[in-house]
Symmetry: C2
């Protein structure tokens, strides 16, 4: 392969061999009706000219696109401060790079728009498979990828309809870890500031929270929904502090929510961790930067991304679809959680 | 377009029209030698069958790939905690989405490996153009994309060899803002904890720092290189505090370095901002989460990404290559910078 941008094209190859462009193309794509001699000559000329069969030509002749697609449907406002996707992509890339696969990224605003992207990708054979993220209740995407015959893996599952295999994180075990810790410290009134409850992983966490509250016979277990913005977390915090018996521990779905909860508690004259303990369900540099540092669930998100990519590539290689589960996140205890006030 | 995965293929179309596959393909790709009647019939059948010309077929017939490529050469360790790329991509996507362009992402470990990716992408016509980031001294990439005839825009420039047009940030003006602020607060001994100095934008900032130190006749202007990891920032901080007259203000290239500098200063018994003022050259949620909150340069990185994507799409539409410059970042003054100790 030369380093100049002037690619020899089919026309040049055909002219050099002395055959029609159609014959040259048939020879290159391994289609019948071309003499072995012509095929040999075409390949020889291709070799001489340093040509590499065009990606498009390969895809047309039935080869794979060697591209994995991922659509992000989060809004720009939340994606902007969300390290999760960067970590997921970094992990996916570590596997895709070795397999010489590219990652095609697109942003959509709704699951319906995302389905349209899949439809176009499959119609145009732009990707060999896709990674689905952030499954919602009544999500049209699993059914759509099945109908489109587009291989898919769900990052964070399982799919309740079992249409798409998943690599999942045990949200129940993770939430149980958090509640066990809080309970051991003597907290009896605990609140959970969570993400939008149409997200299935948020639903699973809320169920696990409710279950653990019952199991530990805690007095209170308020669940406060947010849209993942700092503003909604601040509003949730103000609301829960209006309670005559406010919580002494607040669990937050991620560090963005936790930062806002801490700032709001302080603005309302509460000290952390003296009056209220705070826990983040995502561990990022923010958690250790704060004073006190935040107790957080530590996940190996790049490892998760690598597993998701490996799972999808395995499916493309003919492995049977199967759900798999990641290791339970670890709880890293830091200064933001201390025994409950007497 | 039906929702089932069974795409009608060229063979089916040809059979239905009663022509050869070659003729059907020629008709679809607008090539000569096909009667208007046949072309009309083929397009009619295509319409009836709900077929969408394959992406590969379109690219083969000379159409664009409608894909922009970006290779990230940062290591997984730093990309993981770096919000910059997530914000850049989010901004790029806002423009690409409207233009129905996809973004193909690949990770490479060296500029040379990155050049190989460009070579493959161009040979296979997988992308219409690329965005270059993190230009280094003696970087092989601008020359490579020119030689490959691959349209490119440099995000953060300018290119010293003027081979590739750029959308750049005025690093000199930004650093001047920071030094003016520090000087006004009476600091006379200032250190700069920067990234790897083979990165051109780091070099430009270091030059601007040295220039501002001279301009303000500050007593000291130590420049401490790091590899963008927390560990190297901690080592730099310990080194600078060994000085008999240590700095009273430390400027950090980003928030990851700033967090580590603050933690190290505290571990060594220094208070922030009482003993040492700290400034971050990137503003992220970490900066407001800390106590005290960090004074930081606030950049509109999504806006920067949008401008980069628009610039590249403009080039693809035949606009003349031209450098453009973003607005100077704003300095957001927070609790981490107070007047210098007497």
């Amino acid at each position: 392969m030369g380093t100049t941008g002037k690619r020899p094209i089919l026309r040049d190859i055909a002219a050099r061999v002395g055959v029609s462009e159609t014959a040259a193309s048939f020879a290159l794509n391994g289609r019948p009706g071309i003499s072995d001699e012509t095929r040999r000559r075409v390949l020889e000329v291709v070799e001489e000219m340093g040509w590499r069969p065009s990606y498009a030509a390969r895809v047309l002749s039935g080869a794979r696109s060697r591209t994995i697609g991922m659509v992000l449907t989060r809004t720009a406002a939340t994606a902007d401060s969300d390290l999760f996707f960067m970590r997921l992509m970094t992990g996916m890339q570590s596997v895709l790079r070795r397999a010489q696969y590219g990652l095609l990224i697109q942003v959509a605003e709704t699951p319906e728009e995302e389905v349209e992207v899949y439809r176009t990708w499959q119609a145009e054979r732009r990707v060999d498979g896709v990674v689905l993220v952030d499954l919602r209740a009544d999500d049209p995407r699993p059914r759509a990828v099945v109908d489109l015959d587009l291989p898919a893996v769900l990052a964070g599952g399982p799919d309740p309809d079992a249409l798409v295999p998943s690599v999942s994180i045990d949200d129940t075990a993770a939430m149980t870890l958090v509640l066990d810790h809080v309970r051991e410290l003597g907290h009896r009134r605990v609140a959970y500031v969570c993400g939008p409850q149409d997200l299935l992983h948020v639903q699973r966490r809320v169920e696990a929270f409710d279950e653990a509250v019952r199991h530990h016979r805690l007095q209170q277990g308020s669940v406060l929904g947010t849209d993942f913005t700092s503003r909604s977390a601040a509003a949730a915090t103000r609301a829960v502090l209006d309670d005559p018996a406010p919580p002494t521990a607040i669990i937050c779905d991620n560090e963005v929510l936790a930062v806002s909860v801490v700032a709001t508690l302080r603005a309302l004259g509460r000290s952390i961790p003296g009056d209220v303990a705070v826990i983040s369900c995502e561990d990022t540099p923010v958690c250790t930067a704060m004073q006190p540092a935040l107790t957080a669930l530590h996940r190996d998100t790049p490892g998760f991304g690598a597993d998701v990519a490996a799972h999808l590539l395995g499916r493309l290689d003919g492995e049977a679809p199967a759900d798999s589960q990641e290791q339970t996140p670890e709880l890293v205890v830091r200064g933001s959680t201390v025994p409950a006030p007497a």
